[in-house]
Each structure stands twice: as C-alpha cells, then as structure tokens.
C-alpha cells in the first residue's frame, strides 16, 4: 500500500459517512414528523 494511503481512505470514508448519515437522518426526521402529524390528527378526529 502507498505511504499515507490510510489518510486518503479515512478521508473518503468520512465523506461517505457524513453525507450518507445526514441523508438517512433527514429521511428519519421526515418519517417521524409525518407520523407525529398523522397521530395528532387521528387522535383529534377520534375523540
């Protein structure tokens, strides 16, 4: 392996994790917000 290749691997890994992790977090936030809005609306309709 080329010298200092570990830094390059770490750099691209950090980039992939940051962008991928943030994207997944946004999906999770959207799902949670949608679920929250539906739950409140359903509860109000039922009672």
């Amino acid at each position: 392996m080329a010298p200092n290749a570990g830094y390059v691997i770490a750099g691209y890994l950090v980039t992939a994790l940051a962008l991928g992790g943030y994207t997944l977090r946004l999906f999770a936030r959207a799902k949670a917000a949608k679920h929250r809005a539906h739950t409140i609306a359903d509860r109000r309709r039922d009672g």
Binding site: Y7, A10, V14, T23, L26, R29, A41
Partner: protein, 242 residues
C-alpha cells in the same frame, strides 16, 4: 425574480424531482470518486495523500455556497416576510455546517501527513473555525424561541451578518502569511494545476453541488413536515382559546 425563484424551488422540491436528484447525486459522486481515486495522477510532491483535495476543496466551496444561499434567503425573508425563505435559510445553514465540518476534518486528515500536525492556528483554519461557530450559533438561536416570526427575524440578521466571514476565509491565504496553500484554480494567470487533476476537481465540485441540491430538497420537505406537525399539535389549543 423572487416569484421565478419560488417556482423553480417548487419544481425541484416535488417528489419526482427529489427522486431524480437522488439518482443524479449517486451517479455524480460515483464518477467523481473514479476520477479522483483512479484516473487523476498522484501529486509529484505529496504523492497519494493529495487525493484528499478532491473532497476537501468541494466541501469548502459548498460551505461557501450554502452560506451564500442563507445570506440571500435571509434578505428575501426580511423583505417579503414569507416563511418559505426562512425555511430555505434554515435548511441551507444546516447543510453548510455539515460541509464546513467535513472540510475541516478532511483538512486535518490532509494536514497531518503533509504539515506534521492535525491542527494549527493558521489564518485559513482559524477563520474557518470561526465560520463554523457562527453558523452553529445560527442554528442554536433558532432553538431559543418558539415564536416563528421572532426566530426567523433573529436568524435572518445572523444569516446576513455572519456571511461577512466567508470572503475573509477565502481571502485569508492572500491577506496573511499562511501555511495553507494559496489559490490554485481562481488566480491571476489561470489555474496552476495539471489538466486531469483540474478535471477531477471540477467534477468533484459539480458532484457536491448536485448533492447539495438533493440535500436541500430533502431538508425542505423535512421543514414543511415538521411545521405541519407543530401546527397540528397547536391547533386544538388555538381552538380552546377562542
């Protein structure tokens, strides 16, 4: 002009636009990775470790772009008082903080083998750290009040004033003696970089720009859904007060 920008934003944030951008992001990042890691030659002096440049520089440029969008959206909010602009500014600030943090971490990973140190209080690094703190404060201030109009007004002021640091960061390597290298692409006399390396860098910037557009569409949808959830939670209370 504001109406045209709003229409374009509406189109890009539709679900089909979001899916298309998602696919374009994956393809662009894949092409950029191949160009950066396989096609571009290693640097004559630094060797393989210079390949970090193809993610470090795009991350830094996208941080500038994100905060420029915050700046423009903040002005638009103060002028029109439309909450859509506040939502755009908040989304772009959050993504800008992500790109700034990424640029700093990647810079540290590049700095350690080249400079022999993870961090140094160099003008470029210091002004970038200040930039990160300004926009972390911007996001923190947004959480200090539940009044959406007050929150949007305070945030807009910080979004406009905070942008002053962006040109300072960019020109810090020209104004002061710096360990960080000077401009290699946007400089008098043209780019000072080998052709394939320049191509890999520009493709990297394009790929990160498409990624930014995709993250903005997702983050704007999250913003709309969270506001809807908050409205649903508040509406019976508003009804009870009547």
């Amino acid at each position: 002009m504001a109406a045209t920008a709003e229409r374009a934003l509406g189109k890009a944030t539709s679900r089909s636009g979001e899916h298309l951008l998602g696919i374009a992001t994956l393809v662009a990042l894949g092409v950029s990775a191949v160009l950066s890691l396989v096609v571009a030659p290693p640097d004559a002096v630094q060797g393989e470790v210079q390949r970090i440049m193809y993610v470090h520089v795009p991350a830094a440029w996208l941080a500038y772009l994100s905060f420029f969008v915050v700046f423009i959206a903040s002005i638009a909010y103060l002028k029109t008082k439309k909450t859509r602009w506040d939502r755009v500014a908040a989304a772009s600030a959050e993504i800008g903080v992500l790109f700034t943090s990424l640029a700093i971490v990647l810079g540290m990973l590049w700095g350690k083998p080249v400079w022999g140190s993870w961090w140094t209080w160099d003008p470029r690094l210091t002004t970038t750290a200040v930039l990160l703190l300004i926009y972390v404060a911007y996001l923190a201030i947004r959480r200090t009040t539940d009044n959406p109009f007050r929150r949007a007004r305070w945030a807009a002021v910080i979004g406009i004033v905070g942008f002053v640091d962006v040109p300072i960061v960019h020109l810090s390597v020209v104004w002061w003696r710096s360990l960080h290298q000077g401009p290699t692409v946007f400089r008098l006399g043209g780019p000072e970089i080998e052709g394939t390396m320049l191509l890999a860098l520009l493709v990297g910037v394009a790929a990160f720009t498409i990624t930014y557009a995709y993250l903005m569409t997702l983050r704007l949808r999250v913003g709309r859904l969270e506001e809807r959830a908050a409205r649903e939670a508040l509406s019976p209370l508003v009804g009870a007060e009547r």
